[in-house]
């Protein structure tokens, strides 16, 4: 009791209040001061801590966009499922980048590493599914002499499919090589792939024998094996057309392929390395002047053409931005209306204590919204509902205290003693009921379906905050205000009579 009413606690409350006001309001002050619109994105808008900008993260149902749950099927035997999932996520990430989405969310899920969840703001479902679900097929080609060819990776040569494809690759990874200085990409082949690759590299070396640094071999096109994504025989048949070749031989372009029309030619080349020696055993290394970024890109590119699993879309949700904005407006209106009703009712029914509780309620709402920005909590429609309901729970604790306060006053206690006794006696009920709600929130947060999770998180945060606000803030306000003599009148306190001190 003494602790709750002590100065350190009061200072703490004031500090929380100032911080919440800053987090919630600084952006609006900045907008008004600089004559900016009150909504919409503004770069560098405060609150902003060294580039870490705070703002409300809106879920897809409020921001508009597409949500897809993918099931991974046909896991290959003998590979770590966690690894396969990670590689698939990297591939999806790469494809998503071509869509230019802000803050895409791609998460692994599922009890057995067999799910991937993708959230893309501002993208429609058709476009998203085309880009993400696209099955790229990786092919290896060798080079065959053809004098009619004038340009491309190897002038005077055209590619020929080798039968070595993505199905023969089990994985590709970017790492630092044994010297510890340069980035390389390691490729591991399956056992049938290893045999095919061995034969191809043997042919390479036989066509232009010698050390790769000697000019004879270094300038020999037939010493190369090119890796492509989605290159088809039709593409190869067009190789005599120089403009076609220069387009198709440009670096692989996932975005272009996703939006492909029949007459559009997209880049499909991943790399065209020279073969140093015959490689048996199924482990190859591509080296060159890689940066970490370019090595990762190449590894992901190879993986995307050799994904060992199939992606099946389990569910797809697309929400248009207008519907999202409409939902934000409606839930804001509902929240404000609810708050106004509660405040009005509390003041009419409980007079001065009701007013104090309303102040505590505003403190509570401001603090919780600041927490949502800081953590951050992604707000969804269900999440906002959870927040509005937590306002109801915050009121409940106050009602418990005030009803008890009235009883204590009726029983003949002085105001100060009654406030004290009311808070103390109401506490076990407030504690137990909030604990039960909090436990429910924790359970829902872990096992509920995803929509329910958002609800559980905001309600859980709200329950904890309301406990602090109702016990600490309301109690302090009551203690401070009611010690001022002017308020000890029955009409202001909502009781029949007050015992003189």
């Amino acid at each position: 009791m003494q602790l709750v009413l002590s100065w350190p606690i009061r200072l703490f409350i004031v500090a929380v209040l100032v911080f919440s006001l800053f987090v919630d309001g600084a952006g609006y002050v900045y907008r008004i001061a600089n004559h900016l619109p009150l909504t919409g994105n503004v770069a560098g808008l405060p609150p902003n801590f060294g580039g870490w900008q705070l703002y409300f993260h809106r879920g897809l149902d409020l921001a508009g966009g597409t949500h897809i749950d993918y099931q991974l099927t046909n896991f290959p035997a003998g590979q770590s499922r966690a690894d396969v999932q990670q590689r698939t996520i990297a591939v999806i990430n790469k494809r998503v980048n071509s869509l230019n989405v802000s803050e895409p969310e791609i998460r692994g899920a599922g009890s057995n590493y067999d799910r991937i969840t993708v959230d893309l703001a501002g993208v429609n479902a058709e476009q998203a599914q085309k880009t993400l679900g696209a099955v790229s097929k990786l092919v290896y080609t060798k080079w065959v002499a053809d004098t009619k060819i004038t340009n491309g990776p190897q002038a005077g040569y055209k590619p020929a499919l080798t039968g070595l494809t993505g199905d023969d690759i089990s994985s590709a990874t970017a790492t630092i090589d044994s010297t510890g200085t340069s980035w390389v990409v390691n490729i591991t082949f399956t056992s049938s792939g290893a045999t095919k690759f061995d034969n191809l590299t043997r042919d390479n070396v036989a066509a232009c024998p010698g050390d790769v640094n000697a000019s004879l071999a270094a300038n020999c096109a037939q010493r190369h094996l090119a890796i492509w994504l989605d290159l088809t025989q039709t593409d190869i048949d067009h190789w005599e057309d120089p403009s076609y070749v220069s387009k198709v031989s440009s670096p692989y372009d996932a975005g272009c392929l996703a939006s492909q029309t029949p007459d559009k030619v997209c880049g499909k080349l991943l790399t065209d390395p020279i073969t140093r020696e015959e490689i048996a055993g199924g482990n190859a290394q591509i080296s060159g002047s890689f940066t970490q970024q370019s090595a990762n890109d190449l590894a992901t590119g190879i993986n995307s053409g050799s994904l060992p699993v199939d992606l099946v879309a389990l569910d797809v949700t697309q929400v248009s931005a207008t519907l999202g904005a409409e939902s934000v407006k409606l839930s804001l209106a509902a929240g404000l209306l609810g708050l106004a009703i509660v405040v009005l009712f509390m003041i009419i029914y409980y007079r001065v204590p009701g007013l104090l509780a309303s102040l505590a309620l505003l403190f509570y709402a401001g603090a919780v919204l600041a927490v949502f920005k800081v953590l951050p909590v992604t707000l969804t429609l269900a999440g906002i509902t959870g927040f509005i309901l937590s306002v109801g729970m915050a009121v409940d604790a106050n009602v418990l205290i005030f009803e008890r306060f009235k009883e204590e006053v009726r029983a003949g206690r002085t105001i100060t003693a009654a406030v004290d006794a009311a808070v103390r006696r109401a506490w076990p009920a407030i504690r137990d009921s909030n604990t039960s709600t909090f436990i429910t929130c924790v359970i829902l947060g872990f096992i509920g379906p995803s929509a329910v999770k958002g609800f559980a998180i905001t309600l859980g945060i709200g329950v904890v905050a309301s406990l602090i606000s109702s016990i600490v803030v309301t109690h302090n306000l009551l203690a401070i205000v009611l010690t001022a003599g002017g308020f000890r009148r029955p009409a202001l306190l909502g009781v029949d009579r007050v015992r003189a001190v």
Binding site: M1, L3, Q71, N124, A125, E126, A313, L314, D315, V316, T317, Q318, V319, S320, S327, L330, A333, A334, L337, I341, V342, F345, M346, L381, A382, T385, G386, I388, L389, V395, V399, L400, E403, K406, E407, E408, R410, A411, R413, R424, W427, P428, A429, D432, S433, T435, S436, T437, I439, T440, I443, L444, I447, G448, P449, A451, V452, F455, I471, D496
Partner: protein, 319 residues
């Protein structure tokens, strides 16, 4: 932070003058009967008809669209019927339509949209939901699991919190068990009424989806709130007024806390009514479910939970 009341303190059991001493415990059978009057038809409807399942649980593909040419419901229905895809049409309050199909793959989603545009003119797609059978099954599973897990946790919490009343753990389980029964009462009232709304009256608002599960769990939370307040008062009164019989203590505690339960629920009902009237399509079903549940929860905590505790105490007397 705040300690529970100590034994040497003077007890405050004076009666508020305005509240009459209603004998709730004495008329408990009447209140039980009233609850059963609603629960039994609800359970019957759930058993016979089940629920009107929303897309979250049934699976399928759903388009929320607005047509530029504002065709009538009949026109949209005949266009959808002509597609032969087992589609169904629901009119929304905003002049738009919700068209539902069994699960469609990405390609047929696109072709269905083109087809609708060809038949009914340009349209704006507000929302596409596609839920496969796997996810739908999991949602049902997780939801049931969540309700059961929450109930068990609440029973355990209450038994622990109330095992310090005379009678020890057995008394704790009497308190916890009565609260659990009151909670199940609210769950059955709510699910029963929604089954009747959805299946007997064919109203779309009676649809069961993830939001409904959220509502059920919130109701569980609120109902337990109310019940704990009454039980907490019983615990306190058992300590300070040992001259009264158990029944008298319970009745007194109900009367002392009824004002608070009704006031809290009333404020929440006001907020929910505001959401129900002004909120969007998605929030309507949710707020109706919460309204029914909160009212039921308040009723059960006053008229069922504590009377059940008395009945239990009679069947299993603790000194």
């Amino acid at each position: 932070m705040v300690a529970e009341g100590k034994a040497q303190e003077t007890a405050v059991v004076a009666q508020p003058p305005r509240i009459r001493r209603l004998n709730i415990i004495g008329r408990r059978n009447l209140f039980f009967a009233f609850s059963l009057l609603i629960i039994i038809p609800g359970i019957f409807s759930m058993w016979r008809n089940g629920f009107l399942l929303g897309i979250d649980f049934a699976g399928g593909t759903e388009f929320t669209v607005t047509f530029a040419n504002h065709p009538s419901l009949a026109q949209v229905e005949s266009a959808v019927a002509a597609e032969n895809l087992n589609g169904s049409v629901i009119e929304t309050s905003g002049g738009g339509y919700i068209v539902r199909y069994p699960p469609l793959n990405a390609a047929s989603q696109v072709s269905v949209q083109h087809d609708l545009e060809n038949r009914l003119g340009p349209m704006k797609v507000d929302q596409i939901l596609e839920v496969g059978g796997t996810i739908a099954g999991e949602s049902i599973e997780f939801s049931l699991l969540a309700v059961v897990a929450a109930s068990v946790a609440i029973l355990g919490l209450l038994a622990w919190r109330f095992h310090n009343v005379p009678g020890g753990w057995r008394a704790g389980f009497q308190f916890g068990g009565s609260a659990l029964l009151a909670l199940l009462h609210d769950v059955f009232i709510l699910t029963g009424i929604f089954s009747i709304l959805g299946k007997v009256f064919d109203l779309r608002i009676g649809e069961i989806d993830a939001f409904f599960v959220t509502a059920v769990l919130t109701v569980v939370g609120f109902s337990v709130h109310d019940t704990i307040v009454v039980f907490d008062r019983i615990r306190e009164n058992l300590r300070v007024s040992q001259r009264l019989s158990f029944e008298q203590v319970v009745n007194l505690s109900i009367m002392q806390t009824a004002a608070r339960s009704i006031i809290t629920s009333f404020t929440v009902v006001l907020v929910l009514a505001a959401i129900f009237i002004s909120g969007g399509e998605t929030l309507k079903g949710l707020s109706l479910a919460l309204l029914i549940g909160i009212i039921s929860g308040t009723y059960s905590s006053i008229f069922n939970a504590a009377p059940l505790l008395v009945v239990w105490r009679r069947l299993q007397p603790l000194r």
